[in-house]
Structure formats: structure tokens, C-alpha cells
């Protein structure tokens, strides 16, 4: 499964990019922010209400995610709106496609194991 998954992703990110991405995702709050902003944009202040932490702390998390390319931030009036990058979602879809292919191959191997020995 790993080689199937690895091939197409390798090369899209350099080592530094991988580091930044991993750091961005290493925190539960940051992962949750990405999840909440998949369906539509949310303001930083609205996000701040969702967590037991200060507006500034939430803003810092958003900045880390922004640097990793997982979310974008846009100013509208007095609000800063955060949205998850469609590109990231596209990559998730692709990841699911790759995982699907890996599982289909597994099912093929299972079927071979279960097939009665061919009579010759």
C-alpha cells in the first residue's frame, strides 16, 4: 500500500514543505480549524469562540496553517475570514483514490487466496 500511495505524492513537496506541513498538523486545534473551515469560511473571532483560548492564540494557529498552505485568510471589513484551501481538499480526494486502489488490490489478493486450487 505504501508504494502505491507514495509514488504520486513524492516530489510535490520538498523536505522543508513536509516539515512545515507536519508541524502545522501536529496540533489538535489546528487540525480542528482546518476541519471546520472545509465547508465554508469562518471568521477568526468565530473560531476563537470555539476554543478555550484567546483570540491571539487562535490567530497564531491560523498563521501556522496559512504558512503550510492549508488555509487562506481574507480580510472582509473588520473580519478575517479563514477557509480551507480547495487544493488541500483535492489532495485529500486524491489520497482517498490512492487508498481505494490499494484496498482494491488487497481484495484481489484475498480473492486469489480464497479461490479453490485450480483443477488440472
Amino acid at each position: 500500500m505504501r508504494d502505491t500511495v507514495g509514488k504520486t505524492v513524492l516530489g510535490e513537496l520538498d523536505d522543508k514543505g513536509v516539515d512545515v506541513l507536519f508541524h502545522a498538523l501536529a496540533d489538535a486545534t489546528r487540525r480542528d480549524i482546518v476541519r471546520r473551515c472545509v465547508r465554508g469560511e469562518l471568521s477568526v473571532s468565530r473560531l476563537a469562540h470555539a476554543y478555550p483560548m484567546s483570540f491571539a492564540a487562535v490567530q497564531k494557529h491560523v498563521t501556522v496553517l496559512e504558512r503550510a498552505g492549508l488555509v487562506t485568510k481574507q480580510r472582509r471589513g473588520r473580519e478575517q475570514l479563514v477557509r480551507t484551501e480547495p487544493e488541500a481538499v483535492r489532495r485529500a480526494r486524491r489520497a482517498l483514490d490512492q487508498l481505494e486502489a490499494a484496498w482494491r488490490e488487497r481484495v484481489d489478493r484475498m480473492s486469489e487466496l480464497l479461490a479453490p486450487a485450480p483443477s488440472r
Binding site: 500500500m1 505504501r2 508504494d3 502505491t4 500511495v5 507514495g6 509514488k7 505524492v9 513524492l10 513537496l13 513536509v18 506541513l21 507536519f22 502545522a24 498538523l25 501536529a26 489546528r30 487540525r31 480542528d32 482546518v34 476541519r35 472545509v38 465547508r39 492549508l70 480551507t84 488541500a88 481538499v89 489532495r91 485529500a92 480526494r93 489520497a95 482517498l96 483514490d97 490512492q98 487508498l99 481505494e100 490499494a102 484496498w103 482494491r104 488490490e105 488487497r106 481484495v107 484481489d108 489478493r109 484475498m110 480473492s111 487466496l113 480464497l114
Partner: protein, 161 residues
């Protein structure tokens, strides 16, 4: 044609594959319960799996490694959360270091397997769930990193030789 349904859920970050096998439920269960059979399908032919520990009971562990074309190994582990032979199995699958010790803070995948039998045909649903979008991406990225490290190891060997 044995895969009868695939459900890719981007919102809930899960992948469900339903397959049908022309075999009784007890036989299909053996694909998971017998480590020698498990290692014949878990890894792709280019990365065959070798199962070391294998305890399919709640709290039990399965440890395995996959050997690449250059002989490099990627280790993995399962922690069994529930097992009800021959009907269901739930476990967490993760990456391990080269001693087979689970890597702290790295992504894991929750896998649920459910089997039902009707008239000698067994249906098996295999559902993989990721904690978040990024979590799933991270699994993919780590997969890439593992393969990349194996490739680098090979280059080192050539340079050293």
C-alpha cells in the same frame, strides 16, 4: 468482480470498501486470523508483509514489517480495539520505528471490518477512518517519506560500495 461497493467520504475522511467472497464466513475470517494468510495480502507484491506478533483480541497487538525491493523495511503495528470472530474486528493501524515500537505523535488509521454470510457468500465491509483531513494527508505523506527513505538508503549503499 468481488468489490461490490466503494464509499469515499471526503467530509468524514473515511474509505469504505465492501467486497463479496464465494466462501463461508469462517474461511474469510482466516484472512485476518491466520498471520500466514494475512501476510499474503496485506502488502503489495513489491512490499510483502511479514507478521511478527499477532494477537487478535481486545488490547492485543499485531506487529509487522514490509520489505521493499531493496531489502529496506517499513514497520507497522495494529492495536486491536475489538474482536468478535468471525464477525467483526476493529483496530488502529500505525507506523512503527525500526524496532517495531509505535512512533509517537504520528498518524494512525482506525480500521473496522465486518463480515456477514448469506447462502455461502460472505460480504466483508472494510472501513478506514482518519482523524482529520490533514491526518489522512499525513498518512499519505508519511507513506511517501518511508518509500523515499528506502530509496535514499539504497543510494547510500551504492555510494558506499
Amino acid at each position: 468482480m468481488t468489490v461490490i461497493r466503494v464509499d469515499k467520504d471526503v467530509d468524514n475522511l473515511s474509505l469504505t470498501v465492501v467486497a463479496e467472497f464465494d466462501a463461508p464466513i469462517e474461511r474469510v475470517w482466516q484472512l485476518w486470523a491466520d498471520p500466514r494468510q494475512l501476510e499474503r495480502w496485506w502488502g503489495p507484491p513489491s512490499y510483502p508483509a511479514t507478521v511478527e506478533r499477532h494477537e487478535l483480541a481486545p488490547g492485543g497487538e499485531v506487529t509487522y514489517f514490509m520489505t521493499g525491493p531493496d531489502g529496506g523495511r517499513s514497520h507497522g503495528w495494529w492495536r486491536i480495539t475489538s474482536a468478535d470472530p468471525p464477525r467483526s474486528l476493529q483496530f488502529v493501524d500505525g507506523f512503527a520505528d525500526h524496532d517495531g515500537v509505535p512512533r509517537e505523535g504520528q498518524p494512525t488509521t482506525a480500521i473496522r471490518v465486518e463480515l456477514t454470510e448469506h447462502d455461502g457468500v460472505t460480504q466483508m465491509e472494510m472501513r478506514s477512518t482518519f482523524a482529520s483531513l490533514e491526518h489522512m494527508e499525513q498518512v499519505v505523506e508519511l507513506g511517501a517519506v518511508e518509500v523515499f527513505q528506502l530509496a535514499v538508503g539504497q543510494a547510500d549503499a551504492v555510494l558506499a560500495g
